[in-house]
Structures are given as structure tokens and as C-alpha cells.
């Protein structure tokens, strides 16, 4: 493949990064001061990168659409962050974290990238603790760990159910320090609407000041996209309302290939949809699966009785409960990876065992651990002899409250039910996108000088991301990868003077943006932007969601193309261009989602195999112990799909073959 060079360094896997790191060209401190870097997005990847690069001496500009960089959606990550510290003495190592991540990703990620991720994971924890991030601790003052899906060691560091918040505030404080020192210029309430390229290199961006609508030109010797994932293409997801693909999509249309767009993570434990007014879905952290057991009734009549409100979960006898994850996957039980857990929930609900009004929910039940694990422990500690069931429940409740209090409160707020007394009802929902802008080992896209970090790139999670690995990757990219790898490019740019933004490339890019904005207002249609977003979401969820097939995907592509036409003919965008206008912002984002949705379906159609979060109904095991499980096709599909934008509705596939030198490929079994 001529166009795709992953630039993976030579040498044995466990020495690649170390060796490469010490041979990447450097930029001397005096030259750094005249090199400018544009960072778009202020989440874990963006804030960490911007702070680290500014500390090194580069001139950095940071852009975010939120009113403060502290509100980037990394803030909402709940459960934790993985690191191969082996503090628990349970056999963890860099190799194991690497192995779990590759296996968890269903053998569709690059070995070298994932190994580097595992190598730097420990430093992330060190850095965050030094910044004053209050991670959970044991009584001895040491850091505490918990388990997450897809692993058999305890390597997840956490801060109650607010780990993302605490890590982001750490990165944000490092960023604000650099703002205070004058090394970073901050542009909040700014949205990037175009990448500017000159002679094939990324040289800046066009951003819209969201307060007054002005279009601004910003030069950079390099541009870093740290703009998160595109889960909101489904309309309903656990993403924030503002999370969008626009920056990544603009880059894509300017020549950055899009990697594995169809790899979407559907998270098994979210609060089920309650009605069509719903604007977003809320995650209940995977860490709850440490202490919760997932089940549905064994008998259909019980399910029907529950749906009709005649029975409650606690009325179902122990023997009449089907703990289906423990039944199907005895080795990992409730801690199977997310894609496996989600499909298993769907399977039960499709078979008629769902337990809420819509038939699309299963139970996540804490009663057993609350009483018999934590309750008993506390009773022992407190010296209570022969505690009653009620006492055990009350004692255990306090422990659970300390571990997951904010999640339980959130559940109660949203559903009006008390999860300390009744099991939670949960159902899978769109959560994360493993796909993203294709990048090489340096995190550079196919456009020189344009980088993608964190969830915005495709690189480390293969076809399925393990829990607590997104925070790890975002921070790894920002703190410990880009500060080194960017030198490979910028060391050749020290003679490039800052290009004045009067350059014609800026002029053209700004005019393109202006034209598009005017187009939105000129349509004067009858339907709101949300109307189209919801329709797109429904197509995506029904046909490119947890299960996909040939006919459905072909239909989806047709439906989306029709919807694109409808959008450009009938959308109504209120207000004006030169003012604070959230409807205009949404219109731009939905227009891009409409194009991305099509590409996701094209990619899903091309990949006639099941792997990770991508489940093709045509490719499942039909017999034996693995019956019904996803079936990979390594012979034909062991590659990264990197799509090149040619023109509207026209994308060309490039393949990056995946080579596994260290890991032995096998069927991913959690049984």
C-alpha cells in the first residue's frame, strides 16, 4: 500500500518505543519558541498534549467549543484508568496489559501502538498523582485498584465514579498553568470548521467564534485534532450533546483517511430509553459489574408479569433467575468485554426475556454482594454476631455507597427508582467509537502536519475497546507520545516562518466555510436540525448497531443518501450567522454526521466478518461450544480499513495489513 505507511519502527516489539524515542530528531529550545501548534479539543488528549507541548517551549493555541476547556466530555468518564503497575501483586505486567488490549480488540489493533500504550501506562498514573489528582486510596495511603471487563487482574485506578472528571481536571489545571504563563493561548467557545492546507501540509484552521459568529484564521506549523469520537451519529448515545465529528470530518475531506469507521462500542450497562423525548443516554459504569450480577427471569411469564407491573425483581426466586453471563461465560462471568456483554443482553431481550415496558432491559443486581460480601465484612469488622439480613443489607449499603454513590444517585434521579433497594435496569447504548482518523505510529494522519490523538484516532483499540482504556489512551497520546513524535516532523519545519493568514489558502478555506453557513440559512425549510438527527440515529441504530447484515446495510446507505437530500432541501436553521446560534452549530454537525453515517455503513458492508463491536449476522459460529459467538475471518479481513474521501458519496478503500509478530492469534474466548 503506497499511501499507507504506518512507520512502525524496526526491532523487537518491546524495544521499539524505547529505541525510537531516543532517535527521534529533536528541536532545540530556541527553535521551539518560533514553532506554533494548533490543538483542537481540550479533553484528556488535547489538554494533556497542549500542556506538555507548551511546557516544552512550543507556542500553543487551544480551541474548544465548550465555554471552558474543563467541560470536554472526558469529564464524564466514570469507572477508571488502566495501568500496568502490578501494585496488587496479581501478576500484571506491561505484556499482560498489551495482550489483554490486543485480545480485547479482537486482533484488529496494531501490536506496536498497543505495546507502547502499555509501556507508558504507569507514567500516566505517576503524572496524575503528582498533579494532585485524588485517586482512591487504601488505609495505608497506597493507591487502590479495581477490576474491569476483559481482564483477570486488578489494574484499574479510579476516583469513585468520577475518574474522568478528576483526570481531566488534572490535565486542565496543567493547561491553565500554561495559559497563565502565556505559553498557551486559549480559545473557548470556538469551533473548528476547516483545516487549512498549503502545499499538502496542514498549516492552520478556520474557527468560528461561537459568541459573535466571526470566522477566524489561525496558523500552525502543525495541527492536532483531539476532538473525541463520533458516537452521536446515532443521536442517542452516552456522548455529550455537543460531541461531534465535524473537525475530524473536515480533516477527512481534506485528505486524512478515516480508519475503521464501523467499529462502534455499544456499552452494555446504560439506563434504558424511557421515551421518545430522550435526548441522551446515561452510562452506569462498567465498574458496577465488579459487584453486580446481570440477570433476567428464566420464565417468560415472569418477564411478562414484571412488564405489566404485577411482579417485581425481588419476587423472582433465586432458582428462577438466569444469570446468563455467568452461564455462558463461566471464566469471566459478569466481567466479559463490553461487546460480548451487550450482544448477550440483546440476545435475551430479542428472545423475549426483557424486563421493562419496552422489553429492552435486563437487571444489574447488587443485592448479593451488598449483603454477603460487604455486609458480612462490615459485620465482622464491627463485631456484630449473627447479623440479620436487614443488618447485612444496611451495612453493605454503606460500602456500596462509598464505592459508587454518585452513580446510584444519578440512576435514582433519572429513573425515580432506588437502586439500593431494587436492581438497576440496564440496556446497551452507543458509547465509544474505536474507529477514527487513520494515523501512523507518530499519530500523524495522511496529511503531513495534521495529527489525531485520543478517541479521534483509530489506533489502539482494534474492534473493541476494553473498559478503562480510553482514559489511558487519551493521556498516553497527550502526555507521553506526541511530545516525542511531533519532533520527527517539526525538526524539519524550523526554517518555516509563520505563514501570514492573508495567504490565499486561508482565504479560500474561509470562503468555503462562509458559503456553507450561508447555504444553511438559504434553505428556509420546515424541519428542525434535530428532526434529521433523530432520523439518522434511527437508521444507524437499526441497521448499523449491535447486529448488521448485508441487506440492512445496503438499505441504510440508500436511506441515508435520501436523508441527505431531504436535509439540504428542508432543514430550517433559525437566527443569523453573526451571533450566538446553537441551531447553526448543530446544523453543521448533523450535516457532517449524515456523510459519516454513510461511510460507516459502507465500511460495515465491506467487512463481511464479525469482530469486536462489529457483528455481522452472516458471520457467527454455528456449532459447538462457541455457537452464536462472533466469527472472525482473519484470512480476508486482517487489515485496517482506511477510507479516502474522493467526492460526495464516493470513498476509496485502502488496506493496512495487520501483522502479529508476538501475539498468537486465536479465537477470542471468555468461556
Amino acid at each position: 500500500m503506497s499511501k499507507l505507511d504506518s512507520k512502525i519502527p524496526e526491532g523487537p516489539l518491546d524495544k521499539k518505543w524505547e529505541k525510537y524515542k531516543s532517535t527521534i530528531p529533536l528541536v532545540n529550545p530556541a527553535n521551539k519558541r518560533s514553532l506554533e501548534i494548533v490543538v483542537v479539543g481540550s479533553g484528556l488528549a488535547g489538554a494533556a498534549a497542549a500542556a506538555s507541548l507548551a511546557e516544552m517551549g512550543y507556542k500553543v493555541k487551544v480551541f474548544c467549543f465548550q465555554d471552558s476547556p474543563r467541560r470536554a466530555h472526558s469529564i464524564a468518564a466514570q469507572g477508571g484508568i488502566n495501568a500496568a503497575k502490578n501494585y496488587q501483586n496479581d501478576g500484571d505486567s506491561v505484556y499482560r496489559l498489551f495482550y489483554d488490549t490486543i485480545k480485547g480488540g479482537d486482533y484488529r489493533a496494531r501490536e506496536a501502538n498497543v505495546h507502547r500504550l502499555a509501556e507508558v501506562s504507569g507514567s500516566i498514573i505517576d503524572q496524575c498523582v503528582a498533579q494532585g489528582v485524588p485517586l482512591a486510596r487504601e488505609y495505608g495511603g497506597m493507591l487502590s485498584n479495581r477490576s474491569f471487563g476483559g481482564t483477570q487482574v486488578q489494574r484499574t485506578f479510579y476516583a469513585a465514579g468520577q475518574t474522568g472528571q478528576q483526570l481531566l481536571l488534572g490535565a486542565y489545571s496543567a493547561l491553565q498553568r500554561q495559559v497563565g504563563l502565556g505559553n498557551v493561548e486559549l480559545f473557548a467557545r470556538h469551533e473548528m470548521l476547516e483545516v487549512v492546507t498549503i502545499d499538502g501540509k496542514a498549516r492552520g484552521i478556520i474557527a468560528r467564534n461561537l459568541i459573535n459568529g466571526e470566522l477566524e484564521r489561525h496558523f500552525g506549523h502543525a495541527v492536532l485534532l483531539c476532538t473525541g469520537g463520533y458516537g452521536n451519529v446515532f443521536y442517542l448515545s452516552t456522548n455529550a450533546m455537543g460531541s461531534n465529528v465535524t473537525a475530524a470530518w473536515k480533516a477527512h475531506k481534506k485528505g486524512a483517511f478515516f480508519g475503521n469507521p464501523c467499529y462502534t462500542q455499544i456499552h452494555p450497562t446504560c439506563i434504558p430509553v424511557s421515551g421518545d423525548h430522550q435526548s441522551k443516554l446515561t452510562l452506569m459504569s462498567e465498574s458496577l459489574r465488579n459487584d453486580g450480577r446481570i440477570w433476567v427471569p428464566k420464565k417468560k411469564e415472569d418477564c411478562i408479569a414484571i412488564r405489566e407491573g404485577k411482579k417485581k425483581a425481588i419476587d423472582i426466586a433465586e432458582d428462577d433467575r438466569d444469570y446468563y453471563l455467568e452461564r455462558r461465560y463461566p471464566a469471566f462471568g459478569n466481567l466479559v468485554p463490553r461487546d460480548v456483554a451487550s450482544r448477550a443482553a440483546k440476545e435475551r431481550c430479542d428472545a423475549g426475556f426483557g424486563i421493562n415496558k419496552t422489553g429492552e432491559a435486563v437487571y444489574l443486581d447488587f443485592a448479593s454482594n451488598m449483603k454477603y460480601k460487604y455486609g458480612k465484612q462490615e459485620a465482622l469488622v464491627k463485631g456484630i454476631q449473627n447479623p440479620t439480613e436487614e443488618q447485612l443489607h444496611a451495612l453493605g449499603k454503606e460500602v456500596v455507597k462509598e464505592k459508587y454513590g454518585n452513580l446510584f444517585d444519578m440512576y435514582k434521579q433519572i429513573t425515580g427508582e432506588d437502586p439500593y433497594e431494587m436492581p438497576m435496569m440496564i440496556y446497551p447504548a452507543v458509547h465509544y467509537t474505536m474507529g477514527g482518523i487513520w494515523v501512523d505510529y507518530n499519530l500523524m494522519t495522511t496529511v503531513p502536519g495534521l495529527y489525531a490523538l485520543g478517541e479521534a484516532n483509530f489506533s489502539d483499540h482494534g474492534a473493541n475497546r476494553l473498559g478503562a482504556s480510553a482514559l489511558m489512551q487519551g493521556l498516553a497520546d497527550g502526555y507521553f507520545v506526541i511530545p516525542y513524535t511531533i519532533g520527527a516532523y517539526l525538526s524539519n519545519e524550523i526554517r518555516t516562518k509563520a505563514i501570514p493568514t492573508s495567504h490565499e489558502a486561508f482565504e479560500t478555506a474561509e470562503n468555503d466555510v462562509k458559503e456553507r453557513i450561508n447555504k444553511f440559512f438559504s434553505i428556509k425549510g420546515t424541519k428542525s436540525v434535530d428532526h434529521f438527527h433523530k432520523r439518522l440515529g434511527k437508521i444507524m441504530w437499526d441497521k448499523c448497531g449491535m447486529a448488521r447484515n448485508d441487506a440492512g446495510l445496503k438499505q441504510a446507505i440508500e436511506d441515508i443518501r435520501a436523508l441527505q437530500k431531504d436535509f439540504w432541501a428542508n432543514v430550517r436553521v433559525t437566527g443569523e450567522a453573526n451571533e450566538f446560534n446553537p441551531e447553526l452549530e448543530k446544523a453543521g454537525r448533523v450535516a457532517d454526521f449524515l456523510e459519516l453515517g454513510e461511510l460507516m455503513c459502507i465500511d460495515a458492508l465491506n467487512r463481511v466478518e464479525s469482530c469486536g463491536g462489529h457483528f455481522r449476522e452472516e458471520s457467527a459460529e454455528t456449532e459447538g461450544e462457541q455457537e452464536g459467538e462472533a466469527k472472525r475471518n482473519d484470512k480476508d479481513f486482517m487489515y485496517v480499513s482506511a477510507w479516502e474521501y474522493k467526492s460526495m458519496n464516493n470513498f476509496e478503500l485502502h488496506k493496512e495489513e495487520l501483522k502479529y509478530e508476538v501475539i498468537k492469534i486465536s479465537q477470542r474466548s471468555y468461556k
Binding site: S52, E55, Q66, D67, S68, R70, R71, H73, I75, A76, D126, Q127, C128, V129, A130, G132, P134, L135, R137, E138, Y139, G141, L143, A159, Q162, Q165, Q166, L169, Y172, S173, Q176, R177, V179, G180, A188, I211, T238, A240, M241, G242, S274, G275, D276, H277, Q278, S279, K280, T282, Q413, I414, G416, F480, P483, S528, D530, T574, G575, E579, F580, P582
Partner: protein
């Protein structure tokens, strides 16, 4: 699945920072008690768009109570009638059919209105940039477990660090003081051994910036603690005051 509540909303409309604003009344119908307050606003906005009117601008993002973007003053209370929740986590079951609900932006000298219910809270960022951090460059850190932190201190630091920067404390305070916000960050960092080295400079510099931004002074009424959606405690203000007294006494020597 729409519901059966009918409400009358009185919403603050203001085109931009320069123009004057006013309360405008909008009826909304078929509201479900399971909707969040913001989803009820989605319904209102959808209706306004269909009628060719301009929708109400309001800040919101995560809609799960953690980003701190949402900021409505509802019936005279920041984030509405319930304690311990943000507006996005307020659900319509907390209201009754037929209610009239008054919705205004945060009101504070240091938070000018941008449009309708949206205000400018960038003063908070500027306060953080004046010391709300530990000066440690990437790569400087030692092994995380080399520095044991007593669980009690770590837990307290975490409780202070749970602040979401929404500004409800400022909007609630009759003086428009940001003391709860500033003290939460000062406390988090001064409770941890990592933060001790810069503790004195930090508290002075952050308090100075707070004053410069036009926030009022704290007169210990305690309203901020009640309205804080994350339960940030007044203890933090006491801690800031102690830190500040010690720091200024030391710097006068």
C-alpha cells in the same frame, strides 16, 4: 411517548450582552414527568422552531450532571427546586401539572449574559490559571506509590475536587462571591502533600484574581453550600481563610 403535564414558562430572553432582556411567557404541553428539565426545553425549542421563532439559547452538554455547563436559575433557585442536582438531572416529576416556572440565567456581576440563559463564566478559568494547579511538568513525576497519602486526606481532597465549576454558588450568593469555588480548589491542593510546596503563593494569587474578576466578598451566609449540586462543604471556605491568613502573615515578614 409524550406526557400529560401542561406548564407555563417565563423565560429570560436577551439577544446579546449589549441589549436589554425580558421575561417572555411560553406555554408548553404534553410534558412527561420522566423528561429532564432540559428535555422539556428541547420540546419548547422544537415548538419555537416549527413556529418560525428563535429557540431559547441555554448552556448544556453532558446531561449527566458532571460537565457543569447547565446553569439555569429556576423559580429563584440555582439548578431548580431539588438539592444536590444540576439542571440536567432535574426531572419534570419534581413539578406539577399547571405550574408556572420562571427560568433566568445566572445573575452575577462577574458572569455577564451572553444570550438568553447563557452566561460567560471564563472568570473561573482565569482564577485557575493563577494557581489552581501543582507546578509539575510532564515527566517530572516519581512513582505514584512513593508518596503515601492518608485515606482521610485523599477522600477530603476528592470531595473538594468534585466541584464541577458550574457557578451555582456565585449565582446564589447575594454578594456574587466565588469563595466556594475558589476554596474547593485551594482545599483540594492544600490537603495533599503534593500541593503543599506552593500552598502560600497559590491562595494569595487565586484570591487576588477572584477579586480582580469582580466577584463579591463572602459574608458566610452559607447559601452556596445549599445550592451546590456536588455538596461542596463550607469547611473549604474556612480552610481557605486559614490558609490565606497564614500565607499573608508569612509574606508580610
Amino acid at each position: 411517548m409524550s406526557g400529560n403535564m401542561n406548564l407555563s414558562l417565563k423565560v429570560w430572553r436577551q439577544k446579546n450582552a449589549e441589549q436589554k432582556g425580558e421575561l417572555v411567557t411560553y406555554p408548553v404541553s404534553d410534558i412527561s414527568p420522566d423528561m429532564s428539565f432540559l428535555e422539556m426545553f428541547d420540546v419548547l425549542n422544537e415548538k419555537l422552531i416549527t413556529e418560525g421563532q428563535e429557540p431559547v439559547a441555554f448552556d448544556h452538554d453532558c446531561r449527566e450532571g458532571i460537565c457543569g455547563a447547565c446553569s439555569m436559575h429556576i423559580n429563584g433557585r440555582a439548578h431548580g427546586p431539588n438539592n444536590g442536582v444540576t439542571t440536567c438531572q432535574l426531572h419534570m416529576r419534581s413539578f406539577k401539572d399547571g405550574d408556572t416556572i420562571v427560568v433566568e440565567p445566572w445573575r452575577a456581576a462577574a458572569f455577564p449574559v451572553v444570550k438568553d440563559l447563557v452566561v460567560d463564566r471564563s472568570a473561573f478559568d482565569r482564577i485557575i490559571s493563577k494557581g489552581g494547579y501543582i507546578s509539575v511538568n510532564t515527566g517530572n513525576a516519581q512513582d505514584a506509590n512513593n508518596l503515601p497519602v492518608p485515606k482521610v486526606d485523599a477522600d477530603k481532597a476528592f470531595e473538594a475536587a468534585a466541584c464541577i465549576g458550574c457557578g451555582a454558588c456565585v449565582a446564589t450568593c447575594k454578594n456574587g462571591s466565588a469563595m466556594l469555588f475558589v476554596s474547593a480548589k485551594v482545599s483540594q491542593l492544600s490537603l495533599l502533600p503534593q500541593g503543599k510546596a506552593e500552598a502560600k503563593e497559590r491562595v494569595i494569587s487565586m484570591v487576588n484574581q477572584m477579586d480582580e474578576e469582580g466577584f463579591g466578598s463572602c459574608t458566610n451566609t452559607g447559601a452556596c453550600e445549599i445550592e451546590c449540586p456536588k455538596g461542596i462543604s463550607l469547611e473549604n471556605i474556612a480552610r481557605l481563610n486559614r490558609e490565606f491568613a497564614v500565607a499573608t502573615a508569612a509574606s508580610e515578614k
